[in-house]
């Protein structure tokens, strides 16, 4: 059985490395709740690399505008066409911000338009149950960004499965802490990441 490696995409136009603690935190979460064979460290893969489709789940975040190069656009298309999943999170959680506007434009241009993901989608029951849809974060109403509670995630589907999962909820900030600090939390706020990974590996 092959090992799941959490891949973070590096792209040329912005600050792709704005959430360096998210990968180890998600890896820690996967190990805590599942028996999935996961690599202890994540990997950074250039978005324009031909190796991109080797990873079933690719994480992309940032604050700055996202502008795909021709190579990045081609590889993202390959990733999606081959059944991979791209998880994009707006680290600004600002629908008026440049990241959201440019990233959604690039996704629309490369793969297709984003649509709301219904809150009863199988993603929300892929491992843990989230009957109300995507869990809210403590950053959505922190006074920065758009100060909105986003009720839905956005998605582009391929043959009925989620190919692109887009979040305005700033999971990059919510999950951007050292995994050892989980012990101080009453409820582990990274459990939704397990659903995302399990969905990407099993759908």
């Amino acid at each position: 059985m092959s090992t799941f490696t959490f891949a973070t995409a590096s792209y040329e136009s912005g600050d792709w490395d704005s959430a360096p603690l998210v990968p180890p935190n998600i890896i820690d979460t996967i190990a805590r709740y599942t028996s999935i064979d996961v690599a202890p460290t994540g990997i950074v893969v250039p978005l324009g690399s031909p190796d991109l489709p080797r990873y079933p789940l690719v994480f992309l975040t940032g604050h700055l505008p996202v502008r795909f190069t021709a190579a990045e656009r081609e590889q993202v298309k390959r990733l999606v066409d081959r059944g991979g999943m791209l998880f994009v999170d707006d680290h600004n959680h600002d629908i008026d911000g440049a990241f959201h506007k440019t990233a959604t434009e690039e996704i629309r241009r490369t793969i297709g338009p984003l649509a709301e993901l219904p809150n009863d989608d199988p993603l929300y029951s892929a491992f843990f149950d989230f009957p109300d849809g995507p869990p809210n974060t403590g950053h959505e109403l922190n006074g920065w960004g758009d100060n909105l509670l986003h009720k839905h995630l956005l998605t582009v589907r391929r043959e009925g499965r989620i190919a692109v999962l887009y979040s305005n909820k700033d999971y990059s900030s919510e999950w951007g802490y050292h995994p050892d600090n989980k012990r101080f939390l009453a409820v582990d706020n990274t459990r939704f990441a397990v659903n995302i990974v399990v969905y990407a590996l099993t759908r």
Binding site: G97, L141, N147, L148
Partner: protein, 688 residues
Amino acid sequence: MSARERVARTRAVLGATAVVASLVRGAAVAALVLVVAGALDWALGIERSARVAIVPAALAAGALVSVVSLWRARRALRLGAVALWIEERIPTLRFALVTAMEPRAAGVALPELERAVSNVRWRAPVAATALRAIGLPALLLGAAVGVRAVLPPGVVSRIEAPRVGDSLESPRAAAASGASRLSPLVATITPPAYTRRKPTTLEEPATIAALASSGVRLEGPGRGAGMRASLGGEALEVTGTSGRWSVIFAMPARPAVVRLGDGARSRVIVLEPLPDSAPSVTLTSPARDTVMRDARGVVKMAAGASDDFGLTAVWFEYIVSSGEGESFKFRSGTAARRAVRGGSSTASLESALRLDSLALRPGDVVHLRAVAVDGNTATGPDTGVSETRVLRVARAGEYDSIAVEGAPPPDADASALSQRMLIQLAEELERRRPRLERRVVIEESRRIGTDQARLRRRVGDIIFERLGNSESGEESSGTSPRAAMTPEELLRAANAATAGESAHALDFEGDETPVVALNRPLLEAYNAMWAAGRELETGEPDDALPHMRVALAAIMRARDAERLYLRGRAPAVVVDLAKVRLAGKIDSASARGRTPRARLSSSSATRAARLDAALLLLPSNPSAALDSLVLLRVAALADAPRLAADIGAAVESLRAGKDASAPLLRARRTAAGAPVTRTNAGEWGGAW
């Protein structure tokens, strides 16, 4: 007039007669060829590829006849021959004319010969000859023209001006009783106006490939009564005029099938939409990303754009990102925007970006790209963009050798609803208001008002905080002169205090409580929240919304205050998997047991199965198999164009009655895909 002169004149007349006669003969032959061809086309039908050659052939035959006729009449060019010709017809001349034509031979007898010739007239034989030479061909020509006049108009045009789509003009195409009205079939495709392309016509199309939104008109012989037509399951109207039926529709955006029906007969036509490509844009300058120490100078910008049909506008676009950590601001703009005149398919753009005009600071990032828009008015203009160049201004300490680790970020306070959320709630209540009881509206409005008041108090805490005393302005003691002031008075006082130079120290002025961190937008927000709260308390969310929006706008302006958010560089974290494996608490979570999902069927496997089914059907029911292949082709157009092309070739062969083995074999191999390599043989099942 001497004999010579008379013969010369006769030669001129005979020469003209020969020329006219040859022309008339040539015209008669050409006309006869056309008439005969028309009659054959009327009776038997001639393919357009052959009809195209009829007019040139007729002209060639006529020219040949004219040339041969002229050649045969060449003797009329020589005076001696003309004189002999006259002698043959006027025997009484007894060669006097011929002799008179040779003065040296005539010698002294020339005057007598001239006298003998001058008394003889040969006009009548010349006229008779001319009449014979021209009359008969003229009669033939007239007969041919007459026959042409009585031929049906469609026949004449099919012969004289053959074109694609003239099969309907043939009288044979008119549907006799019981004959199929599905053939001949003519399709006229009119591209969208913005393409400036002329309509095209197809005969007997099995597939129509055209731009999406092109107008398509299908025509056939006979009236439309009783005909059926559908596109993608939706019925189309069949109209009939001038002995033809027609169906009009627009080319859809996705491959589809048009079904035509006439009684028990049916016909399927594949619609293959061609996309209008977005413009292709190339940014040639700046050629690469850049990091600058100083944001000064000019950046030269150059780009080229091209489109398949025509461009309407091109420009440069930039986004300036300022900030760091978790706080960023963005500014965007365009430069050198211009319209492309005349819908040209190519355009170039040059400009210069003055960095001083962008007010860049260390750490700022400029994203620059070129944009072009085409003139697609059918499905909406398409936008093409170039690669993006990133120009970054180096931070002040970027080149320092000392790294400073900052403190972790403070916790975020998310206890209160934001003003934007309150506006959303109020708008939602206002939308539901017609369906709610007044009592419920008041209750919910007051609930929102409570949250609005809570937010107003938080804003008030920020505005009225004293130095060293965090007492809220709203709950301060009565001894403070500020406690007696209404919010409006506070706002006026604050406005007065901040009028003019903001550099003045604002604290410790007399006995007045200083307004620390005075922020006029926040005061404006505070005031607007008071007004909104009053309206919400009375159950009038619609009256509260304008004040709430004013408050939000003021808060947005206040957010421009600079924030420092220190964050150190996180060390690389390696997860100790052995330590944390299955250590998570799932007793409070509902980890649902999962059942395996059915494996998704591969599209290619589905297509291969459909192709196999169609091939099995071919021997027993060829028409059904043909329809299956056509529908499979439509399904494959978007995802498997090569398979679609192979199936298309097979369909064409089958429809033409040719051997389709080769194209079917190619399609089968394309559908099956590349050979799969297995590293081990499967288990033997015990049977051969």
